[in-house]
């Protein structure tokens, strides 16, 4: 799916064709092909999930309604008629029940929150009062809608109030409605398009994962090599210094969300690191960075080297630098890297960072929360690797443990996230919702394992997935997925060992694996070529189960749940 157009459908009680046009024409990833259903048909289309429009499964749908059209009692609120809040919330519940009618027809559903026109000022000072205040009731309706959809892993409420705020007075033009039944202004559609695209990037694993930062005049003010670390502008009673501290604090919050930080800077490394580790007002210290390249080489090449070290793709990177020449260089040399324009005014750095829409995720797992620490551990691992001779010797020093489990409810969210985000070590690049994944794994002849990796430096978490479907005497590896965090440490071989062990226990004779190429999963092909499996046709690999496949000697397989089906 990652390299194909995502198919989407828009349902609305007003004319939403303009949004379809914006979504189809925008060149950002991912590519989409969107159509708008005839407007004013939301309820009839939701009531009949077997209707013509639902004969195909969509990658995503947007269902955008005005509150009074799907919650009739809200019209009474607008009429200043008495209405019981429980009646209103009951109608919200009925609407969400209808939305769930199509949960098998769309992989992801976006529901913009309800708003009403900015020119309608409600009941003024009474508007937040319970019982009849439009603001009060609309908040409760939106909260109920979000709560009702919370339990679904693939239904999301989008905050359309933000689109309205960004668009200002142009949000609503009554002429658009009277002449074309278009309820909101085009600037609102553009904001919606940007948010929907950000959400689709999250769904398809295209969100950015690594922020690479310059140092001088980016993380602090001034040139540390000239001034010395004691004299850079950072903190203190100085608006610019304060702004740099705030920018660093904001970056630190990004690491809490699972994003990684890196440094690429033209500096003397020891001088720059001294500033990072000694300046009393530095918020970000060495342990906050997954890696760095601090030298006088070309920044584009340094980014390539850093990203390779971290086992990430260039498409995962955002590069932030105050220098427009460096930005232009990286943009030209590395078009996959996102290089946002950056404000000249240092006091605008924090707001520029917070307005980037390239970091969205559809779920936050424990692995996400700990990712930054994991990469710091990895940096320390590599430091040890440089001191130790061969790869095998180094791996032995790590005390690696791999825990294998069959898919279970506790791991479901993280497993679906890994399945949908991993691009490089991914045999077939299937993208599935949690429900689809559960259904698939539950079918007869299907098996899906998850792999947790840890070593003496810490937990890498649930980082691997392998799945098998078997028929007669032959099995096929459907998913073979490993996070880039642990690639190259022979977890790959451990996963194959697990699959082959299970295959032997249920009497399978042969296992095949077919590599489905995407623009990003060449590392998977490279692994299979050297895995010991027999290659044929370039993309098909096979293994005779009667042959012994060795568990890597440095791996402690701590919990092997592989067993024959009853």
């Amino acid at each position: 799916m990652a390299s194909e157009k995502l198919r989407g459908i828009l349902l609305s009680d007003f004319n939403i064709q303009n949004l379809a046009g914006y979504l189809n024409n925008n060149q950002d990833e991912p590519e989409v092909e969107v159509k708008a259903a005839p407007f004013g048909q939301v309820i009839p289309l939701l009531v009949d999930p077997n209707g013509e429009i639902w004969q195909e499964v969509y990658d995503f749908a947007v269902i955008w309604t005005m509150p009074e059209s799907v919650v009739p009692s809200f019209q009474k609120v607008l009429n200043f008629e008495p209405v019981d809040i429980q009646t209103i919330l009951g109608e919200v519940d009925e609407f969400t029940t209808l939305l769930k009618n199509i949960q098998d027809k769309v992989k992801t559903l976006f529901v913009p929150s309800w708003v009403f026109p900015t020119y309608h000022r409600g009941w003024g000072v009474l508007d937040s009062k319970s019982g009849f205040g439009t603001f009060n009731i609309l908040m409760q309706m939106n909260l109920r809608l979000a709560q009702n959809l919370d339990e679904s892993g693939h239904f999301f409420v989008l905050n359309s109030q933000k689109w309205i705020e960004q668009s200002g007075k142009a949000s609503f033009n009554p002429k658009m409605y009277y002449m074309g039944k278009i309820a909101v202004g085009n600037s609102v559609f553009i904001e919606a398009m940007n948010d929907i695209r950000a959400a689709l990037r999250a769904v398809t694993g295209l969100s950015k994962k690594l922020i690479v930062l310059d140092l001088d005049d980016t993380l602090w003010g001034g040139i540390v090599g000239d001034l010395g670390w004691e004299n850079i502008r950072l903190g203190g009673h100085d608006p610019i210094g304060e702004a740099f501290v705030d920018f660093q604090k904001t970056l630190k919050t990004f690491t809490n969300r699972g994003l990684l930080l890196g440094i690429v800077s033209k500096n003397e490394e020891d001088i720059a690191l001294e500033a990072i580790n000694k300046h009393p007002e530095m918020v970000l210290r060495g342990d906050d960075f997954a890696g760095w390249r601090i030298n006088w080489q070309d920044k584009a090449q340094n980014i390539v080297d850093l990203v390779r070290d971290l086992n990430l793709g260039l498409q995962s990177v955002v590069f932030i630098d105050d220098n427009p020449v460096e930005r232009a260089r990286v943009r030209e040399a590395l078009p996959e890297v996102l290089v946002p324009e950056w404000p000249v005014d240092k006091m605008l750095y924090k707001s520029a960072l917070l307005s980037l829409n390239c970091f969205d995720t559809i779920a936050v797992s424990q692995e996400d929360l700990a990712r930054s620490k994991m990469y710091v551990s990895e940096r320390k691992r590599k430091s040890l690797k440089d001191k130790v001779g061969s790869l095998d010797d180094w791996l032995v020093t790590l005390d690696m443990k791999v825990e294998v489990n069959e898919l279970n409810a506790v791991d479901l969210a993280r497993t679906a996230q890994l399945l949908n985000k991993t691009n490089q070590m991914n045999l077939s690049t299937r993208r599935m919702t949690e429900q689809e994944l559960t259904d698939w794994a539950g079918e007869p002849g299907h098996k899906l394992w998850t792999f947790r990796v840890s070593d003496k430096f810490g937990e890498s978490g649930l980082t691997g997935i392998a799945s098998l479907e078997n028929e007669n005497n032959e099995g096929r590896i459907v998913d073979f997925i490993l996070s880039c965090r642990v690639m190259g440490r022979k977890v790959e071989e451990t996963m194959l060992y697990t699959v082959f062990g299970y295959a032997g226990s249920i009497g399978l004779e042969k296992i095949i694996a077919r590599y489905l190429p995407t623009p990003k999963n060449n590392p998977c092909l490279k692994f299979f070529k050297v895995s010991g499996l027999k290659a044929s046709g370039g993309d098909l690999f096979s293994w005779e189960v009667k042959n012994s496949f060795q568990l890597p000697r440095h791996i402690n397989l701590v919990k092997n749940t592989v067993a024959a089906d009853d």
Partner: protein, 97 residues
């Protein structure tokens, strides 16, 4: 305010409208582009977007509120206002009133 400024505003609206249109439906930024009617590229939805977009942009750029909708929705097939050049002249005349 010059008639060139009005032309600039119309071209800016064309840029915005083109962001919604498929490639073969996009409007050229030239004086003889036919906007509306049987030989124009804009359908009824495109016409609404164009007229409202032009009204909003003229108000933002000149501070003058103009109302084109009623008149534009009922143009004769041979009306000069259907082309960019004719429309620019007309808008200039009412802005200068």
């Amino acid at each position: 305010m010059s008639d060139e400024k009005i032309l600039y505003i119309i071209y800016a609206v064309i840029d915005e409208i083109n962001e919604q249109l498929e490639k073969d439906q996009r409007l050229d930024k030239s004086l003889d582009t036919v906007l509306f009617g049987q030989s124009g590229k804009l359908d009824s939805l495109g016409m609404v977007n164009f007229i409202v977009g032009l009204e909003e942009k003229v108000a933002a750029e000149t501070g003058k509120e103009i109302s084109l909708a009623d008149q534009m929705m009922a143009l004769d097939e041979d009306s000069p206002l259907k082309t960019v050049e004719g429309l620019a002249q007309y808008v200039y005349s009412i802005v200068e009133e």
